[in-house]
């Protein structure tokens, strides 16, 4: 899929701006603090209904303005053109229209625009806590099989309900509470088992692609592995029963897919603690490339690639290798330091102080 044009009103540093995107490789260049990332963030917002930098919606509205507006023309894989409009007011609900038709639910926009985002923060996927890796895997899962979105939100809700029940028990369960806990346990067992099965399957599909991507980006082949480490063995119901006393005392659910871990290793050593900074950075890129490749190969989506300032951290060889490894769909990248030498962008956009100018490539 492709984004043809983007209009921004009162979005971050932009007062009012129109940008046309070419297909192929677009380089968005400019000095720091000029608004390059804000452009990608706007496209990312339309794909995920939130900032990929984790900023709350309120922070996306230009200071002093009451609402931000995004308007994008995207073309899906089958050539269909769609006009997407979003209004984010400071007070009240966001409004979203597709082809001038108002969407009854915000969530209906998910899947209309598909992106894969690469950002310097991805390093945290390797170095940070297990929650980030679960989030990475689940995001890929939902892009790959949209039906799992509902399963994930069910699971979150069951966990919230179960934890609320555990807290209200105050360390002791009477017969009634025991009974009601049984009900949430059986819900958690069904949804939790289904999510784990789906995650494991996806990871199996992903691992070979991960290894391939790592070898290309790191330019030094190494045995990269990702394994799923679950917080329970075969039977989640039984595991919840075993952990019950513990859970009641602590007031939280200590077994389930929310406690599982994706272990990453390079050459048999744990990547989180043993790999060098350079290896970790290559692995982070490989995680994004691998997830993108699984989604792309399944045919459910051909995401737009958004690369936010990833080249500043790579040496020229690896930067060139990454550019080369990217799938040949629309690629938008930002850079404050110029492009790796072999890059021949189809389009260069200069961003200066919230204004975007096209330069001849």
């Amino acid at each position: 899929m492709q984004i043809r044009s983007l209009h921004l009103t009162n979005w971050r540093s932009y007062e009012s701006s129109d940008v046309e995107f070419g297909d192929g490789l677009t380089a968005i260049v400019g000095e720091n603090g000029q608004g390059k990332t804000n452009l990608l963030e706007a496209i990312g917002w339309l794909a995920g209904l939130g900032s990929f930098r984790g900023a709350p919606d309120g922070a996306l509205i230009r200071i002093g303005a009451d609402s931000a507006i995004l308007r994008a023309v995207v073309v899906s894989g089958d050539g269909r053109e769609q006009l997407i409009e979003a209004e984010l007011p400071r007070i009240g609900r966001n409004r979203i229209q597709v082809n001038r038709q108002r969407l009854p639910r915000m969530g209906d926009l998910l899947g209309v625009v598909q992106v894969t985002v690469f950002s310097p923060d991805d390093l945290e996927l390797v170095k940070g806590g297990p929650g980030l890796r679960r989030g990475w895997l689940d995001a890929a899962l939902v892009s790959r099989h949209p039906k799992y979105g509902a399963l994930r939100s069910d699971l979150e809700r069951v966990l919230k309900q179960r934890n609320a029940l555990l807290r209200s028990a105050g360390g002791r369960l009477d017969a009634d509470a025991e009974f009601t806990l049984d009900v949430w346990d059986s819900k958690l067992a069904t949804t939790g088992t289904a999510l784990r099965t789906a995650r494991v399957e996806l990871l199996d599909e992903m691992v070979p692609r991960l290894g391939e991507a790592y070898d290309v980006v790191a330019r030094r082949p190494a045995a990269v592995a990702a394994s799923y480490e679950s917080s329970w063995d075969d039977d989640l119901s039984a595991a919840l029963m075993t952990a019950r006393g513990h859970d009641v005392r602590r007031g939280v659910t200590t077994v389930g897919p929310h406690r599982d871990e994706v272990r990453l290793s390079i050459g048999a050593a744990p990547a989180r603690t043993h790999a060098s900074q350079g290896e970790q950075r290559s692995l982070a890129l490989a995680l994004r490339l691998g997830a993108d490749s699984v989604v792309r190969a399944s045919g459910v989506a051909q995401p737009i690639l958004l690369l936010d300032d990833v080249f500043s951290e790579l040496d020229p060889h690896r930067a060139a290798a990454l550019l080369d490894a990217l799938p040949r769909s629309q690629r938008l990248l930002t850079s404050a330091v110029g492009l790796p030498t072999p890059a021949r962008p189809d389009q260069v956009l200069y961003v200066v102080d919230g204004a975007v100018r096209v330069a001849a490539a």
Binding site: Q161, S168, S186, K187
Partner: protein, 204 residues
């Protein structure tokens, strides 16, 4: 600037209503203050009168007017062997519109939701068990909402009722009648597939 005590009190009271935030409460308050006195008085009389005349049925906890039991519980033509369990009184109205159900009801007054502090003790579960024990109920139809909390409530009721030897059934979920298959969301359609029924050519 802040409002006078009287105005602020009105805003605060309105703001305690479900679904009304501080902004809406302010808007409604100013609407009422600007409206002709008889309009505002009519509203306050309606509230007072409803509170005075309407109460909850002693037996099924539906809304009841002019008596300890509601009209459905008092109606002798209703079958007492069928008992339909719903979350709220509004759900009775929905089921009644079908004109398919001739049994009696039991209103739980909510669904099981620990986040909102609603457990077995906040719902009318014990009262339901008493009824099943004392009345000649043969089948309990669980008609809680088809969402997570409603399903959990249904699972909970089964646990309590099964040992009492009563038949417990659940409303089917599936496709809306008169709709198009292509517009069904995947969850509903998935459920409808799960609960598919055997087509029978009849006895020929």
């Amino acid at each position: 600037m802040s409002y006078s005590v009287t105005v602020q009190e009105l805003i605060d009271q309105l703001g305690r209503l479900p679904g009304i935030g501080p902004k809406s409460a302010q808007r409604v308050a100013f609407y009422l203050l600007k409206a002709p006195p008889e309009d505002a008085l009519r509203l306050s009389r309606a509230i007072a009168e409803a509170k005075e005349k309407v109460s909850f049925c002693d037996r099924c906890f539906n809304l009841s007017e002019g008596g300890e039991e509601c009209a459905i519980c008092r109606d002798p033509r209703r079958e007492s062997r069928l008992l339909c369990v719903v979350e709220d009184s509004q759900d009775i109205v929905a089921v009644e519109r079908t004109q398919e159900f001739r049994g009696r009801y039991h209103v739980l007054q909510g669904a099981f939701s620990p986040i909102d502090g609603i457990g077995v003790d906040q719902l009318r579960v014990k009262e339901l068990m008493t009824r099943v024990g004392e009345e000649d109920v043969e089948e309990v139809i669980v008609a809680t909402n088809p969402n997570l909390e409603g399903e959990a409530t249904a699972a909970l009721l089964v646990k309590y009722l099964k040992p009492m030897g009563v038949r417990v059934t659940r409303l089917a979920s599936g496709l809306p009648v008169g709709g198009d298959l292509e517009y069904a969301d995947e969850l509903t359609l998935g459920r409808a597939l799960e609960g598919r029924q055997l087509l029978d050519a009849g006895d020929d």
